[in-house]
Symmetry: C2
């Protein structure tokens, strides 16, 4: 049982021959109309009608892709926007995905000073002490984190990763247009800020190396800038890359290719292009269409490796 | 009613003659023993026993300081670590503080790409559409945010600020030892990264200027480095500073003085030194002791302005 997160992810990618994951980013306006109509009839014009529709959507998506993909990546903001009930459904989604053998990468981008980071790390990776019990609050296998506050805000996450065989993906270079505002600033010694963050992540990654040759301390590297991905691969040869930006955000299989080392060590995320692959006129086939889109993505990525 | 967050904060500071706020950071091991004993007897060894003790603690702290301080700053991580029930108590705490006329600065440090940042902004500053209703999920007056992803991840927060007269405090220079890891990196043109962030925040701050002369787009500037605070004041003359680090983290009134401009435009936070000012042998006086500690802090800060 003492297998690192990096090894679990590596093995699952190998077994399923698929270095991709499905982002569970629910947009209420894009949900299959019949799902929402059903919960609305049942629960009225309530938050719960929306969150239950999201849960049923997620569960059917998970059922449809669970034998194909190694992991799912719920983006917690889309659940937080529905308050307590949204977070309840976030939690249910994570539990359901894990019960189906999927790894859960919680896209939370949390960050703070050490004592506070400790609370986040317990909430999402470890356990919280409740009298004589240790309870998992929002169970996941890995989380995304933001390193702007430096190493002392990262250490509590690494601590929980070591203790519970979990993982983190540190934001290095994101996929959005404004990523350049600060991440691309040139430092006095000639590197950019994101390269400096990458150098530190490489250094930190040695703390939890898996037998697969990759670390449980990974990096978020946007797919939208392939030249940068190439450079980041050189700086972080042992770091798992979590790669957003494929599909709806515009990156192609060729764009993400430099994130891999000999075809290994990266997992490419797509959300909207999988979840909402269905024809809104025929929403009842959404799960089947998501499965087809996931297979198409798998083939597309494998074709360049 | 169309008064900006900066003006609300400025006026409340003036009215109470107190540029400080109380951080609501519950640590279960530091709670007054009798409070936890009481809820434990009522609810057993459960998460709810802890979260209800936290809520009662927060409510009594709020009652004790509501006529003295302009704002409270709950740190959401300490609630997230207790899962759904923790977040429910976080929400109850925010609502209670607002019902007592206090401004609530939600210390959430959220950050993401635009479409995701929009979901966070709705959750904490704006409203979420639920069929024909607009619902406030986690109501607060301002939030802290992390700018590593650049302006397109900030804009959705600014949008909600404009729409609902709310505020943001962008992390510029944090109070922790490792803040230096990235924030102090020197850029090619000679400034540090945190100064470059400050320059952008100054630029952004013009989007929502209050009549008080300060903007609703503020900055988090740690009190632990007074020389840097002085420099940041020059870069951001119209920006409200939210200043952590006073008290338990070691900064003094003299250290925070450079965060003010002629005694205005900053709010100094203290958490542990207020909340846990009581003698653990006599925990029943915790609220009174918190009030005394808040008054002592007020006098201490005012003495240098």
């Amino acid at each position: 049982m003492n297998i690192t997160f990096a090894d679990k992810l590596y093995q699952s990618i190998e077994k399923k021959n698929n270095p991709t994951c499905v982002g569970l980013d629910p947009f209420v306006d894009k949900l299959p109309a019949h799902l929402l109509a059903h919960t609305r009839k049942e629960l009225g014009d309530t938050v719960e009608a929306i969150t239950q529709a999201i849960l049923r959507f997620n569960q059917q998506i998970i059922d449809a892709v669970q034998d194909i993909v190694p992991a799912v990546k719920p983006q917690i903001a889309f659940y937080e926007q529905y308050g307590i009930q949204g977070l309840n459904v976030y939690r249910e989604t994570c539990l359901y995905a894990r019960s189906k053998g999927l790894l859960v990468i919680a896209d939370i981008k949390r960050n703070d000073i050490a004592s506070t980071a400790q609370a986040y790390a317990q909430a999402y990776l470890g356990t919280t002490k409740v009298f004589n019990q240790e309870i998992e609050m929002f169970p996941s296998d890995a989380v995304t984190i933001n390193a702007y506050l430096g190493k002392d805000g990262i250490d509590p996450f690494i601590h929980e990763c070591k203790k519970y065989n979990k993982g983190v993906f540190v934001l290095v270079r994101t996929s959005n247009p404004s990523a350049k505002d600060f991440q691309d600033k040139t430092l006095i010694h000639g590197a950019t800020l994101f390269e400096a963050v990458a150098e530190e992540v490489h250094h930190w990654s040695k703390e939890i190396m898996g037998t697969c040759g990759f670390s449980s301390i990974g990096a978020v590297v946007g797919a939208t800038y392939p030249e940068q991905a190439k450079k980041l691969r050189e700086i972080m040869p042992n770091t798992f890359f979590l790669v957003p930006g494929y599909g709806a955000q515009g990156a192609t299989a060729q764009d993400v290719k430099p994130c891999f080392i000999q075809g290994k060590g990266a997992i490419i995320n797509a959300s909207r292009s999988i979840l909402y692959a269905f024809d809104p006129q025929n929403p009842e086939y959404f799960a089947e269409k998501a499965r087809q889109a996931a297979i198409t993505m798998q083939k597309d990525i494998l074709s360049v490796l």
